[in-house]
């Protein structure tokens, strides 16, 4: 592996791979974590070990709004799974994104490949990134507004699961179990054709983007937006001690999401932004003692330190 960080980063890679195996193949050996997994455990992967909650949410909003659902056992189950989702987010926050998401790992693999080839990462300019940041909220709004319209029969049933039908996770993740069928155009009718064409275009953009820019898809991920909206419930925080920061810029450079706020923040301690994936690479490469820390409620899980950075910092000389 070209890029090597001791401890946290190794632990993260380990967790990502374990999670990948469980969430992608768990069903094949009898593990299923249910329909409320707060990451891209894609239900379109045959034999997966859990389902992405975005699907559950779309279904819940769509069918849950109909008269047939009122007072039914289905509604109670759906509500129960929503509670499970909220509890899972409250417990682990964006650990789901940085540490457990299978689609995140696929993106990291592509980035590793890029590094191996010595191709430079393309950064998105600050202003563009700011606008692109709103796209995930657009998607979130899209997947919440469309299903009730389908239920109310304003839109045709082909719009059922509106986000899944354009999600690159749906087209790419099933490839890992040998399923290529979601990479095809659906000629059933004009709407399915349009949606499948959109999916193919998104997939193409995402593939290219993921290679040249780390965690490209995460910029647009509506699940990240949803988890961020639940931030007040979660106890996991990236915390900055402004007085200890020398402003060296390591955190910004290392950040897969190119977050500026951790580097620039001069006032408040909470530097966990909407884009943050809680991968904690910033805390690990911060060379100032106790400048960045990871807090879980009141417990300090990790503090940055020069001595930690010395031993963990990325340097390729040996790995060549």
């Amino acid at each position: 592996m070209a890029y090597m960080i001791e401890r946290i980063e190794r632990l993260r890679a380990f967790a990502q791979h374990i999670s990948f195996v469980i969430l992608m193949y768990g069903g094949r050996f009898g593990i299923n974590l249910g329909p409320a997994v707060p990451c891209f455990a894609c239900p379109f992967v045959t034999g997966c070990g859990g389902y992405c909650y975005l699907m559950g949410l779309q279904g819940f909003i769509g069918f849950g709004m109909s008269a047939a659902a009122a007072g039914s056992l289905w509604l109670f189950t759906a509500l129960g799974w929503m509670v499970v989702f909220i509890v899972l987010v409250a417990l682990l926050g964006k650990i789901w994104c940085g540490w457990l998401c299978p689609f995140g790992l696929v993106q990291d693999w592509l980035s590793a490949l890029r590094r191996k080839l010595g191709v430079r990462e393309r950064k998105i300019s600050l202003q563009t990134a700011q606008y692109l940041g709103y796209v995930k909220y657009f998607f979130l709004g899209y997947l919440i507004i469309i299903p009730p319209l389908v239920t109310a029969e304003i839109l045709p049933p082909d719009f059922y699961l509106p986000f899944c039908s354009i999600c690159p996770g749906k087209s790419l993740l099933p490839l890992f179990v040998g399923e290529t069928r979601y990479l095809a155009l659906d000629y059933t009718n004009n709407i399915t054709f349009a949606l499948s064409l959109t999916l193919l275009i998104f997939t193409g953009i995402t593939l290219v983007g993921m290679f040249f820019k780390e965690r490209f898809f995460c910029i647009f991920c509506p699940l990240l937006a949803l988890i961020h909206l639940l931030k007040p419930l979660s106890g996991l925080r990236l915390v900055k001690n402004i007085s200890a920061c020398t402003g060296c810029g390591n955190c910004r450079r290392i950040c897969p999401m190119d977050i500026e706020a951790v580097y620039l923040e001069q006032k408040k301690a909470d530097v966990q932004t909407a884009e943050c994936l809680n991968c904690f690479q910033c805390a690990e490469t911060c060379p100032s003692d106790a400048a960045l820390g990871i807090d879980f409620y009141r417990f300090r899980l990790f503090s940055s330190s020069r001595s930690h950075t010395i031993n963990t910092i990325a340097w390729l000389g040996k790995q060549k």
């Binding site: 890029y3 990462e121 020398t246 390591n250 910004r252 290392i254 340097w315």
Partner: protein, 447 residues
Amino acid sequence: MSDQKQMSRQIRLVEKTAGKMAQESAETLAWLRARDDYLQGFDYFLDLAEKGFDPQSSDSVREKAGRPLIYLLCIQAPLELIHAAGFHPFKIFSGSFAAGNLSAHGLPTLICPLMRSILGAMQMTGNKEEQPWILPTTCDWVVKFPEMMKLFGAAEQRLHWLELPHIKEARESQGLWLDEMVKLKGFLEQLSGRKISRNALLDSIAVYHRAWQALSRLVSLRRQGLLSSAWFLLITNTFFLGKAENWTAALEKLLPTLPCSVNSAKRRIFLAGSPIFFPNFKLPRLLEEAGLCVTGDDICSGERLFPGGVSFKDSSVFGLIEALAQRYHQGCLCPTFADNQRRIRNIEAQAEHFDGVVFHVLKGCHPYDLESYTIESGLKKQGIKFIRLETDHASEDSQNLLTRLEAYSHTLPSSGLRPPSPRERGEGNNSPHPLAEEGRGEGIRCT
């Protein structure tokens, strides 16, 4: 006066100065060698200082480094990049008073003593060869340095300027600096006649990372008061005088042999401000005489020698250059940058390791001089003890400085080097005057 007379006079002057410089260097080295805490492991660095400080130093450095030299001022040009291009980065310095006197005529009275000393020392070699230089636009003295150099008859030099943006946080500045780094790469490639490869860059980063690791270990020993500032400064001062790998190896060999006993009577101080250069170890000497022990510094010939800790993820050539650019620019605490809040914070953040701050101002070093006031008010608000000492390479004010340092050491709250005894924590301390406390006898010394 005829030209010939003028020439012979100049030659005699240079010879005389060379003798004085050698004497200064020999005195400092003898003082270091005669110290109680001398260890054999220091020999490598003493030897570097002895040879490297010779007026013909560039030859010695070239020989030791085994590569052609690139002269540097300041610490903003990435050493890794220069090293990867096959050169040895040689940061020019001199703390010699005699050399400063040689160039005193024809220069403003209130000039940075370091510049004066460098200009003097450079006259010793005649400086007739064309040399590649990398100069970042830090302070006014550095910006005007090449012109002054010419004034003293130096040959046309191959200058490469780095336009240093002074507002570090601004995105435009960072973009500009990245461009400067790409241009620097071009300059180095043109000099060497070959491309800087990704592997060479990674190797160089590894070389300096290893040096930084060793330096960091030394720094952590120093935090505990285990190392005299004289030795620390000797080690950091000699970094550019030989191969970085050898320096690292010598330091790694020295580290396990350093003693682990603490002189508990000493107060710990943080040394901030202008750099201190060999052979002018007046300040470390006086600090020790006053019973003060330096446990940290933010001077660019000490702990800020080079930024180190270059972390990167994008290992393409561009990614590495970007990482170096950011590390050398944004991590730098040089007072020539606008807004010194981070300097103050850097001191505050380390407050547990020291009892007070000594701020060294080289007379004529305006950026540090100005900052001494803002830092003083910033630190005093936090209740941190502060003293500002303005001095130069001359030794006539030693007594004045010592008096102040001795008195200052009495004003320091208590020595953190000493494990607090139960008696100290409360009762039983009925002495009427702070000087009456036991173990504080550094100022009132039995003779």
